[in-house]
Amino acid sequence: MTSEKKSFSGAKRYVLDDELAKIVNISMALEMPLLLKGEPGTGKTMLAHAIAENLGMPLIVLNVKSSMKLVDALYQYDTLTRLNDSRFGDSKRDVSNIEDYIKMGKIGQAFTAGERTILLIDEIDKADTDFQDDMLDVLDQMEFDIIEIDKTIGAKNRPVIIITSNAKKDLSDPFLGRCNFHHIAFPDPKMMRRIIRVHFPDIDSELMESAVNVFYKLRELDGIEKRPATRELVNWLRALKSDPDFKAKDLGKGDIPYLGVLFKKSQDYEKAVNTVSRRRLT
């Protein structure tokens, strides 16, 4: 496979640290799924997008939901359409051929695709443990059965599998045993500045410095339930930049506008507003 020789080195909109790049390359070479954990906003999902962009491979995203069953991710037997066809018979599908009514789910799509794909399984922790274990079996064997037509679907090309988890639950041991693991820590100020440069190439450095400073101080407030992450910071900067009355100096004076962009929960917001108005944060 020529695709194996490709290696990953970052993408346009994504700032990658060396360590993570190495881990991605090792996982691709070992053909093992890579499990990424980390608090929200550390770019777990973005990584898969970046790999896809960088290696020019199609990306298939499976967004896991709590009610999801494994079969939903593999294939769907569209009984309703078949019932409709059998009663009214106005389609080109052959009602006696069940295979016409099988639709591939996201994992199925990744297996049957003509080329090697990136399969992103997002927020696996939402589903229950049975789902996770069963899924790993499928990804291990690289094949699954469609019971209705008694057919085995094997992967034409082994997809590159990226799994993300929001660091709430620990996943089960057999699951972990079959993945490589990496934990993405929250970026430090230096890294954050690089990330901001990627998003706003022409940003005023004074604005960036004071915004990053204030941002990290706000993150450290006590008793905040949902701490602002990279996404919030980027949106906040966007808001600051679009406000013609705003001057970067004001941040240094402890005048912090648009706190609502950073704090999404009303309790957190009140706490932040209180702290900011009580004492200067700089």
């Binding site: 060396d18 996982s27 045993g177 693991f181 430090d188 230096k190 339930e225």
Partner: protein
Amino acid sequence: MFIGFFYKLKEAGIPVSPTSFLTLHKALSRGLVSSLDDFYTASRAVLVKSERYFDLFDQVFAHHFEGAEMPDYEGVELDELARSLLESWLKDPKTLASALDLDESEIAKLTPDELIEYFKKRLKEQKERHDGGGRWIGTGGTSPVGHSGNHPGGMRVGGGSRNRSAVKVAMERRYRDYSLDGPLTQAMVGEALKRLRNMIPAGPKNRVNVDETIYQTMKNAGEIEIVFDRVLKDRLKIVIAIDNGGWSMDPYVLVVQTLFDYARAQFKDLKIYYFHNTVYGTIWQDPSRYKKPQKIEEFARFDPETRLVLVGDASMAPYELMASDGSIHIEERSGKPSLECLKFLAKNFRHSVWLNPMQSNMWGYTQTISVIGRIFPMFELSIDGLEKAVAHLMAK
């Protein structure tokens, strides 16, 4: 190759599996690893499956490849010292101030946390001087000064990651905050408690099961067959009793408060009570333990399937537990020793646990802890302990 390293990881308590060790060798034999740096990233990604063990891994790695000193229990000792310091501070600020070369008024300005931090810093300096800075002896080329544990977060991670050696990275112990004995956060507590959910179908069959209906209709050759289900409901009842009195619990109040905040949101039928040190005839529904008393005899009327969770440090004078008029509050005279009351509760509720915020290796030093531990299964109030406690509560 590296079998010694593998066993060291295992001994340090990281759950490493032989399979993953073989995977690592696969990576090695394919030439994916060409330097020690690569080996660090590769072995961590393949062998260690939770960020809670990253810190331990870093320590073992540094030890194995550079001969850095293995972690000892210094941290624990420090915490214990700090705690006793706090106690003496409460009793006698003046002596302490002079012992620390500080003015009494200055000490009064510090919060307890700041005081402990200050104290730890002083203690470490002291140590350094005595030991002659020998903590990282044998580290070869790496600079011992910046890494001697004085500034755990001293060197920053991120941007300039290119030229640092893996051992230096490992020595930085970046993942300390994620390690097992890291702080208990609301999210973790919430996740642990979520497993207490016990969904069972209840009530009339009045919800259409669409999938099943379609399936049965197909089986029926297209004749409509509607399938109904019962609604899932959480029927689990929980009683939490928190020891919120006395300064011996003070350092833990925040942790317990977290537990308590989350508990509110998790269950429908949840009762919270308060007590001081241990349970006598009465416990209270209000945190001030004054307005709404509840006789514990009335707990007999509760559903025996109710899960009882007691939170407290279980540390008190033995007579408070054993004597029939042991309560330090004069109005609390039930005539029964507290021990009997606890046994009554334990008998009444099949599923009960006692969560203790003290570290479990300290339990042996307090008599009352082991006495209560024989009545209620006792777990540490930490992520691991909570998970074990929940597993115990949900056991049949």
